[in-house]
């Protein structure tokens, strides 16, 4: 589906990504983890076609991304950015309709069919009632869902996200991730950059660990997110343990180990 093959990228003289390779299958949920400044966002921009790799290539269904026109790319990949406020108070439905841009001939406006698809993608996320609300006035969590709906209106095979949960509260983060898990079950491949190893445990099939622009490790969350790799990436001690749920599933959690200080309060 998506293959990153020996990709390197440099901003001027400084090389940010070194010879990175991985691939993602249909319906696979892939999380990219790594410390600040390790090149995660640069990698995403390369995958989205916003930047051109200095060497190596990114293939979608075997075709080089550089050879694909922007509209074709937008029909294959949906991008869910962190929600921000645009300068004008658009209606929610108008925002979702923007996901249909790549399906319109270059000078047209969206029609009935586009509107139907946009409403369906709002319904899919149970936010159909928001369609006439003002995008700039709804809550941050709702805005983030609207952006997913916009990406779904693109009818993509791949969804790309850069820390989509950064501005959401604890509950909304997991609501968001559940939506994403559901979409990946339906066959959409998802690539998500995250800072939280627990999110990777929660929803990823595969994890890519990065450090200083290089691939550190790759594999299932259970095999890659371990005490040693966390220490290497973030330079902190963590404890990772499995927790048995009522239905016998085991969910892993990663907890930073607090350092011991001598208390000034005495014994």
């Amino acid at each position: 589906m998506l293959e990153v093959r020996n990709v390197s990228y440099s901003y001027g003289p400084s090389q940010v990504i070194h010879n990175l390779s991985f691939s993602m299958e249909r319906g696979e949920f892939l999380c990219v983890l790594g410390p600040n400044g390790c090149g995660k966002t640069t990698l995403l921009k390369n995958i989205l076609g916003l930047l051109t790799p200095s060497s190596g290539s990114i293939l979608i269904d075997g075709e080089d991304l550089q050879d694909l026109p922007l509209t074709r790319l937008a029909k294959t990949m949906g991008y869910i950015p962190q929600a921000h406020t645009p300068p004008f108070p658009f209606k929610v439905l108008d925002v979702v309709l923007m996901g249909r841009t790549s399906y319109l001939s270059s000078l047209a406006v969206p029609g009935k069919e586009d509107e139907k698809i946009s409403l369906e993608s709002l319904e899919e996320l149970n936010i159909g009632h928001l369609k006439d609300e003002i995008y700039t006035k709804i809550s941050g969590g709702e805005r983030q869902l609207v952006l997913i709906a916009r990406a779904l209106a693109q009818q993509p095979k791949i969804l790309i996200m850069d820390e989509p949960t950064a501005s959401l509260d604890f509950g909304k983060q997991h609501l968001f991730l559940e939506h994403m898990r559901h979409l990946s079950q339906k066959g959409i491949s998802i690539l998500m950059v995250t800072h939280d190893p627990d999110q990777a445990f929660f929803c990823a099939h595969k994890v890519v660990l990065m450090k200083q622009g290089r691939l550190l490790d790759m594999g299932t969350p259970e095999a890659t997110i371990i005490e040693k790799s966390m220490k290497e990436m973030y330079d902190i001690d963590v404890k990772i343990n499995g927790m048995k749920l009522a239905d016998d599933r085991i969910i892993r959690v990663c907890i930073p180990v607090p350092k011991r200080y001598k208390s000034v309060l005495g014994a």
Binding site: L48, F88, P89, M98, P110, E142, L175
Partner: protein, 352 residues
């Protein structure tokens, strides 16, 4: 039904909206027609509406032997060109302002952001200074306006910086350059005849418009309006930023180019026939947003209608306010400031 995220109750506002829609359409169709007829009737030579309608009827359907009356001359040779020009320029400046506000993701941008007005002003002053005819003055204004925007785009390319910020920066630099050129010409101009003429031109006026002026700008106007009209929906997407627009499948470079060409053509054509008329391109798009919302699909045509009506009304005021005509550019600024404060105050609630 309860929203799962916000827990708010959902109410159906559909019927209220429908009523509002109807009132809006009614207003937007009737307003320009009313203002159009009204502008014929008033002026130094007052014409009652009944008389006006009769004159129009006779002009088109009356017997061919009917001689041109005084009334006929006033209506068709003096007022009609001026009214047409007022509507055209009002629509043009407003549409260009609206398009640029979306493209630059900034609600405070006006159509001269890339230096079109400053360039055209310099071109006109230069031609006046060299004692050229009215047509050369207009042509020079038009060409220098285009040249200024072209230079701003070249600077943007040289800077190789953020594409929208680079354009704004280029526009500021070029505007400054041409403004100082205009200043230099004013300094050297003969203070008895050239300087007043330059000053008057720079203040903007529709008083000397004739049919030929309108015909001379028809081509750039048609091209510019068509370009903006065709890409109007895509301007929405551009308001979400360069990267998001590209991931949604928009060739942002090409779209920006189309918007710049369209907006520059209509702005420069306007300035070349009636001088500098400020504020309208900034104020009217906001008025449009407060009526129909920010979606360019409807906003752009509505902005044109409102701009045409607004400038025509202000020009009526300019004609009738005193025994000597008040320059239009001064009136639009005078009215624009309080008008802007009111609209902006209302609109800004939706932005935050």
């Amino acid at each position: 039904m309860i929203s799962p995220l916000s827990g708010k109750k959902i109410t159906n506002k559909y019927f209220k909206r429908l009523d509002l829609r109807f009132a809006q359409i009614f207003l937007l169709v009737l307003l320009p027609i009313a203002v159009f007829l009204f502008s014929f009737a008033i002026g130094r030579y007052g014409i009652p509406v009944s008389q006006l309608l009769l004159t129009i009827y006779q002009h088109y359907f009356g017997s061919s032997t009917a001689q041109a009356t005084n009334l006929d001359t006033v209506v068709f040779n003096i007022r009609l060109p001026r009214i047409m020009a007022g509507m055209l320029v009002g629509a043009a400046l407003s549409a260009a302002g609206a398009a640029y506000q979306g493209m630059f993701k900034n609600p405070l941008v006006s159509p001269d952001i890339l230096g079109a007005s400053a360039g055209a002003g310099f071109g006109a002053c230069l031609a006046i200074f060299l004692s050229q005819s009215v047509y050369v003055i207009q042509l020079s204004a038009f060409l220098f306006g285009l040249a200024a925007v072209l230079l701003a785009c070249l600077i943007n390319k040289q800077l190789d910086y953020d594409p929208t910020l680079g354009l704004v920066l280029g526009g500021i630099l070029i505007s400054t350059l041409f403004s100082s050129g205009t200043g230099a010409i004013k300094y050297f101009a003969d203070s008895n005849d050239k300087l007043p003429e330059i000053t008057f031109w720079l203040m903007g006026s529709l008083s000397s418009i004739n049919q030929r002026d309108i015909l001379s700008v028809i081509i750039p106007m048609v091209i510019g309006f068509t370009a903006l009209f065709l890409v109007r929906w895509r301007l929405n997407v551009l308001a979400f930023g360069e990267e998001e627009a590209r991931t949604l499948g928009i060739n942002t470079r090409r779209l920006r180019l189309i918007v710049i060409i369209g907006a520059t053509l209509i702005t420069t054509a306007s300035v070349s026939i009636c001088g500098m008329i400020g504020w309208i391109g900034l104020v009217v798009p906001h008025l449009g947003r407060s009526i129909v919302g920010p979606n360019y699909r409807t906003l752009l045509p509505v902005t044109c209608i409102l701009g045409a009506s607004y400038l025509l009304l202000v020009d009526d005021l300019a004609r009738c306010l005193g025994s000597v005509e008040v320059p239009l550019g001064i009136l639009t600024s005078l009215l624009g400031v309080p008008f802007f404060v009111i609209i902006f105050k209302n609109n800004i609630r939706g932005w935050k």
